[in-house]
Symmetry: C2
Subunit: 249 residues, 2 copies
């Protein structure tokens, strides 16, 4: 369940405050969820609470860390050392929490050999060797959208079964692998969607209402920057809110 890490973090805060015991009620409040949900989620790990009392913070933390696989390191390889990839490799939040950056990889020969945040960038072709040597457990895709699937395939082929994808593209992996995605422009679009609905009349229904009843087959030019002459490949050149999230590698 994807909420466990949130509980974990909350419990760590509690531990830092020397609080040794917590009820599902209070934990729920701190984690921003419903109390029954907390109990269901925790009981999924086993019966680690005490009726009439609550949960022992320390003990629960221990069980949870074990369950989340936090008792060992999971070395990470970052593929695609553009803006985002470089930022990620420089971002301390990885290593601190048990996910040390083990290697940086890029397909661009001009990037290979450069040293970033203490790591020498290696070529994408070295992936299998790096994975084997360094025991890489997680692959981070920080390439442009159009190479994301290929990179994922190569990660899988190299034996990496956990992938975190920052590229704004749909990538698929075999069922035995896990994939999570982080897409900045997607989040922003969701936000502006809600905001739009607020400001524009009332909801979708209201929008239907102001729709012309007849069927407008021909469409007005989509806002700014229509450029039907651009080269194919990447960068759909039209309409605001294009594919985004990553950087030239």
């Amino acid at each position: 369940m994807a909420r466990l890490p949130v509980y974990l973090r909350t419990l760590l805060d509690l531990q830092a405050e020397r609080i040794s015991n917590i009820s599902s009620e209070r934990l729920a409040e701190l984690a921003g969820v419903n109390a029954a949900k907390v109990r269901k989620d925790l009981s999924f790990l086993g019966s680690y609470g005490t009726r009439g009392v609550g949960y022992d913070v320390e003990y629960l933390l221990f069980q949870m860390s074990r369950e989340l696989g936090l008792t060992k390191d999971w070395p990470v390889v970052i593929v695609g050392i553009g803006n985002l990839g470089a930022a990620l490799s420089n971002y301390g939040g990885f290593g601190d929490r048990g996910y040390p950056v083990a290697a940086l990889v890029d397909a661009d020969p001009s990037k290979v050999g450069r040293v970033i945040s203490g790591h020498t960038v290696r070529h994408l072709d070295d992936l299998p060797d790096l994975v084997a040597e360094l025991g890489v457990a997680i692959g981070v895709i920080a390439t442009p959208a159009d190479t994301a699937q290929e990179v994922a395939d190569r990660l899988i082929a190299a034996g990496v079964t956990s992938i975190l994808n920052f590229a704004p593209a749909v990538v698929s992996v075999p069922p035995e692998a896990s994939l999570r995605k982080v897409d900045l422009s997607l989040e922003l679009q969701i936000l502006s969607f809600y905001r739009q609905r607020e400001t524009a009349g009332e909801g979708i229904e209201g929008l239907d209402a102001l729709e012309p009843p007849e069927i407008p087959r021909v469409v007005a030019a989509p806002a700014p920057g229509s450029a039907p002459g651009t080269t194919p490949g990447d960068a759909p050149g039209t309409t605001p809110g294009t594919v985004a999230g990553s950087v030239p590698a």
Copy 2:
């Protein structure tokens, strides 16, 4: 619905390939979802398809962009100019897609005045003025966890109702505001959780799925690396293949 941006992106790709018409079946395949879901989602926007034919890419794009609020810019303020904040402000993906970075803000006086990616860092106290002057629509929180809630409060107070939170903390906002979060360590923990489940039974620690939940009242030391050989209890072996390792909604 949070899938609309994915369809949007797919449609943009199609447009770039000069494909003018698409069936829900094909669109579903490209977006990595079920065809019926695509139709339900799209019908939520209105009846923009043609039976027996499919959807007109251009027209659907136009309607969708409008619905997602992509016909106008949504200026962004980034709060917290540390590693991550600086990386984000330097990251082109915002402005290109209709989310121009309008201002950078930090609470640290030593950061105020510095110029990053063409923006002079302003003090957090200037937030209300900046929001009013620049028409800021979205606030990005890139501060440490312990100040995230306060920053959110100040954003709301300044009139920003859309917030994207990168800080690893639970922040709450009034119901009229929207909040999205991006949490890297959370994603990594989810990945290692699945991975852990897979490989449970091997590894240095003999945490096999044997269960007898003896009385686990005594708390073992949660210190990193501690490996109590006979830790009792283990997650119920239930729901074997249930939790798939793929992208949830």
